[in-house]
Subunit: 327 residues, 6 copies
């Protein structure tokens, strides 16, 4: 990690100095450090936007997620309220900008995203991503998990484990984790999904999960056993190995997160979501994302603010993992 001077560069603008609504918006008011920036080599955790929703089968709009999340992230301050940790002191964090996607080219975009995250892997930058729809997680994993499958902690109301849509279409936001398992990017025995709910097509996705040894925790089980017990099991499932956390904003109830394309009623509160993420502390989280924030369905920006609040929790977890890896 860098020196004092570097730290100053990587510090967010304070709302006590410059009002939150002022200045061009970057994630958490951090410096914008694109991949060709002189200081890219100093970055340890990179926040990246993937403004793309080409895999969306229902209501589009997640392409606008990164921009509104940058805007609302001005309301994030430096310090975690419970741990009092300041992630920006513990690691060099920066806004790496957005992947340059092709809104009219599905395969082209999958390649662009994979390429971008390969470069992050080369730089040794741990990625924290703001989607984009959930299909974007697939090329992220292709970029960072090529060498060995990772564990996956997946918060969502849907399994995203379907095989295909619309007569054979293999790549939609309903299929990425089927593909990731097939491609060996995720170790299904170290994979767990929390919060699954909503009416079902036919249960074939559940069957698939069972057949490969992945664990699904529907919302009813989450409520009955309680958050603490469930999260203890989650920790056990992924264990000490490298783990990716993927957080679909529709995990949280639509009262809290109306700005998403396929909401399902009966979900957790934002407080529970925070508690879930805080329970990941100590795991070796090597990357994470928050996806499916769709601004057109919540012009207020509150869903985006909820999303960046989740990103801050994930950033603190990732910072802890980074410090442990540093030893």
């Amino acid at each position: 990690m860098g020196e004092a001077g570097d730290k100053a560069f990587f510090q967010p603008l304070s709302g006590m100095e410059v009002p939150r609504f002022a200045a061009p918006a970057t994630f958490m008011r951090l410096p914008h450090v694109p991949l060709d920036h002189a200081r890219i080599g100093e970055v340890e955790i990179g926040i990246v936007g993937i403004p793309w929703d080409g895999g969306t089968t229902n209501r589009a709009g997640a392409r606008h997620g990164p921009r509104q999340m940058r805007d609302m992230s001005s309301m994030i301050r430096r310090m975690h309220p419970v741990t009092r940790r300041v992630p920006f002191d513990a690691a060099n964090v920066a806004d790496l900008g957005d992947v340059s996607v092709n809104p009219a080219g599905l395969e082209d975009t999958l390649g662009r995203v994979e390429g971008f995250y390969r470069r992050l892997a080369e730089f040794g930058i741990a990625p924290l991503t703001a989607g984009g729809d959930h299909l974007t997680t697939l090329p992220v994993l292709r970029g960072i998990a090529r060498r060995q499958p990772v564990g996956s902690i997946h918060f969502d109301s849907h399994t995203d484990l379907n095989d295909s849509y619309f007569g054979g279409c293999k790549y939609t936001h309903g299929t990425p984790f089927r593909r990731a398992i097939e491609e060996g990017l995720i170790d299904p025995r170290r994979m767990v999904q929390i919060g699954i709910r909503g009416t079902m097509y036919d249960g074939e996705d559940y069957e698939f999960a069972r057949s490969v040894g992945a664990r699904l925790i529907p919302i009813e089980e989450f409520r009955e056993r309680g958050l603490a017990a469930v999260m203890a099991e989650v920790r056990q499932i992924v264990g000490a190995g490298p783990t990716y956390v993927t957080f679909d904003i529709d995990f949280i109830d639509p009262a809290y997160a109306p700005g998403t394309g396929t909401p399902e009623v009966g979900g957790p509160t934002s407080y529970e979501a925070q508690a879930c993420l805080r329970a990941l502390d100590g795991l070796d989280v090597i990357g994470a994302d928050v996806v499916e924030v769709s601004p057109p369905f919540d012009p207020s920006g509150n869903t985006a603010f909820l999303g960046v609040s989740m990103m801050f929790e994930l950033l603190c977890v990732m910072t802890g993992a980074l410090e442990r890896r540093r030893g």
Copy 2:
């Protein structure tokens, strides 16, 4: 129930085949079978819209409920996530269209609705209704409960048991259950209201309930005793007899259901609402409705989606009752 061919006709369009935003909207993407349709005789459960809010004393708009609920119901899939039941396999369900109402004629409309439901009774179709304001439940009951009073399970933040408004007006959405008891449509000793809350006029409605033996469960009691205990009592109150379930969307807290005319803060979550309806399984539910969804107060459509999510739960309960009646 019909044969294989019939079943294909009565199956909803799948979101895996045709995207949810495509095709003219019918309830749950079912076939539209008006009363003069050739196959009306095969329908077992009919979903009906009553686009009328002429009894509304406060903010109107529930007249637009059926249309937005049809639209949002495209997001309902085939299978129940807990029971894995597929109601569309268990019964022939169809969208019967809307009752043709008169927005400028209160008594005329009460007559039209009653007439429509009498015909359903003649066809032997169990109705699942999307309101409209809560006054619409009165003519529905007149149509289907003429022969014998039914039990009533009533989810609401208001009692709707007032006597009159505005100097003697007997028919508003604040009075239907007073009238239904007076007219012998509901057996008050088999009647229970859950979720009552909000500031009160004077308590005269509570007195009336007590005097006729109806049971009111305010939200505070609901919270203190717990959902399971309350719903066990509910089941005991209505017993094995024929029972109607009426669900005012303002039962659920306005954070979840902003699109309604007279919200009251401090209500249940959508998860609790689902749990309440799932607890009705096994009762002889012969009809049900979800009322007071008012789209102008929630252009996002999320309240309508919540409403149709409740309708799907009710449909599963009704399907079970139908199967038991079939023997």
Copy 3:
């Protein structure tokens, strides 16, 4: 054309009989006649939705256009206010439903749309389409203009004549008319664009238009010469031959049409837009569309209502052409 009985079938529901907010929504409250319907052979003009926006380079949402346009089209009545013509008396018009598209498959969808419109051509049905983004016009033309190039009257703020986007992507909503000319679907010397405005990339699209003999009428020329003179020239350009009219809702100023993905300020009013379309009377309009209505950017539905108001004008023009072809 059919007999009296047929006419009754093809008449829209009247708002004087059934309130406009009642009944499942179809285009202009016409009967829903899918391609496998018994009476499809009687249809003369078919209104079709193409709920797809996979070619959209900017803000998506036009996939939701057909549904909201169906909803708002309940406010269309039978008779044209100036000509007093009733298009539903002059021709058998029906809502043919939506093309079944693939939101995650660009080429797949282009094929599906083309196939659908080939079948319409086989049935001899003249199509009036509700998009969808502007790329959808390309497969429509492929379906109906294979035999000979058509004239094209194009209302828009953009030329949609660009060559490619995002490093070689040939199919976006910014390129369809370049492709249509290249493929011989449109005769560029019988092609005119009206209302072009807004900041420009580099003018290469203008150059292309000039090189192939297509006529572009920017908004400044439209204002300076006046609507009557411009529309007289438009009529002259397309002449008596078969002509397609494509109407991008962003032709109209965003004050009138906020619900679209790429608005440009400084456009015509809705009154001028009506006048433009009325000036097409007498041309041989064999098909038409209204595209780029994007409901997420106008939850009020007013843009969709404006869109269906334009569709009604086009329907009247098409009905006139049909009558002339009948002789």
Copy 4:
């Protein structure tokens, strides 16, 4: 008219003294003087709200008009920008509050409104009304035009001259002027409608107008002849006799006035609407209304502000008439 002290009482609160968003909202920040107020006898022009939309055949919501119009009227200042007249100096103007209506009782409400306006007539107060739907104009006329029919200048996109709806319903917001003519409240030869447009049912209303000698000026004629010529004819039609002005906000194009229940595209601008009302100066306007502002369809309040801006113009015209009658 009263003395200096009276005038101070009847002056609006200034936005230069108390900010516009402060203080309970009354029309134009005038004193609230209900009918039982000590100073009611001094009022010359009374602004009245009729919060009722029970005659609405399409989208309800005009019941909320008066409240939002009071709110937005805080932005009205004292002086007319062209004539430099201060109506609050020329007459004692007050907010008389709302008529106490019955939202679930059509005939009851018609009676209540008529009774209220009879009392205004007894007090010699000229009414300026904020609706409510257009049916409310009928009982207003019954209250003030019993003795002799008045002339009527009617700005609207609809004729509101239909005979009945929904199988014989004679009282809706589509019928009031048919009734008013039948009842002898309006002299049809001194009646003119301006701005009529939109698709038509069947033209029967036009026939009725012609048969009784009323004048209809469709928007196309308005545009072709020009505002000045049309308004000159309007003045000639009503002449010097007592005249009522009724202004349906849907006269103005929905880009300017989205907050209304039945918009029609292709209407005048707000500037033209102002010019129309300014052209009434010098006529004997004895009462006026602005109706059909429906806040649920424009939460921004801009339509309500447009409505009160029209009311200010009407107030200035009425003040002039009052001064002339004073001699």
Copy 5:
């Protein structure tokens, strides 16, 4: 307290007599009694608006709070649903109007508010205030707590105990309670804050609280110990002495209260908020406020309705205290 006649004057308009959307809006439909009104001397509890947000460091808009809260308060009825108390019977309550503030003058406004509340103190009127931003609580306390420091029960997601902003600015909505303690208006040992959460600047405010003996209860402690235990401690902290209750609407989760300038996710529900306020019964609450309702961020008005629902709870608590003080 006054006699029968007085009581009638101080009774709210009933929604059973006059619909909720009718009549100019005052708080809870009470009479408007400005300070120069003849009956001001009879008022015991005065509801006051402070339409000012000049201390807001982030998103402004709370200046519009009082007006929208007046509007939505029409939905408050007479009787408390649990205690069945009618506060309007127990005390003379009136809407005193708004303090006349200066939106462009911070110090000027602080003086105006202080002066207004000094006059209330002279009249012996206990104030229930609708803000405005949280800085407005400071001059209220200056007005009513000059003689002796009061206890303070403070519901909020923020401490508002910061020292200064933007390079030495001592008066913002992030600093009022630091100032109130420094000025001796609040006794910090009788001060408690509940619900604190969200990312932190640096914890200096927490240090200050600890140093002066004030108690902070973060949301995590609130959840872990439970509402009952926490509120018991709250009662113990403030004891029997005179106590002020200040309620920032951002205490409640933004799913329930989106209409505020600086939301923090992970907050209590509206039911919990009600329970917290009901637990204050029996304390000597001499004044209270609900602040930071910001209508531009929730055009639906639901946040304002939540705010006035909290005000009704506070009114009942204040009425009880008043009765006890009467003996």
Copy 6:
């Protein structure tokens, strides 16, 4: 001006390469060059945000203007559609970021803004500003017009020439041009206001304008004489001397620009506004601003897009002036 390399740096990101919704938002997708950036010396025209609305007497929110205008400015392309000029080729243009303001300190902020613009003057950078409320123009003028008074072309619905508000408050957004004239920053004989309309306080501001020789052109005169004649006079009034253009978005009718704090009905269209600004070509415009865009009152962002469309026109005018000054 710089060399080729410099030009590449100062070029906007193209929407044909990177989709418009991607990448952190800067004005017109230009590089962000804060005052301490290495290349600040090469900037010729600097786009600056002043996120401040502390002088607003009515509805606040313009503090959020710069951020939403940056967001929507992604839709601006390189080339002017009429002149085909590319301002980014003609001059080095950059986004200089926002002035660091104090939302709770009026005089502090006036000083900060003045200081910022003095530095721009030292760098020789011509400023194009996005407000902020109209009071922000005063310190801008203090920063750039100290040496000699400038001419002023002022588009607005209000004169902003009032003397004081709220009992002596000299600095609000209703007073800046009175102050600017008093301070000798504007030469009143070279000052012209276009579009003035709306109800008036008392006309004292008009008197002041007349007394100092400033020219006011109300909207009625604008319409009667026509845009061309008016703009010819405007050019004559300011002549060849250095001129500042200040554009209040409420100049344009609220149908086009709803997102502003104090709209006035009856204004020009966006097309007319473009024509007005294009008519300034050839004048020596040394600076310009677009103010009073208030995002909370138009969540759609369309008003902000209109604002940046006006900024693009102004940029082209300023670029022309710059080229002429270069000789």
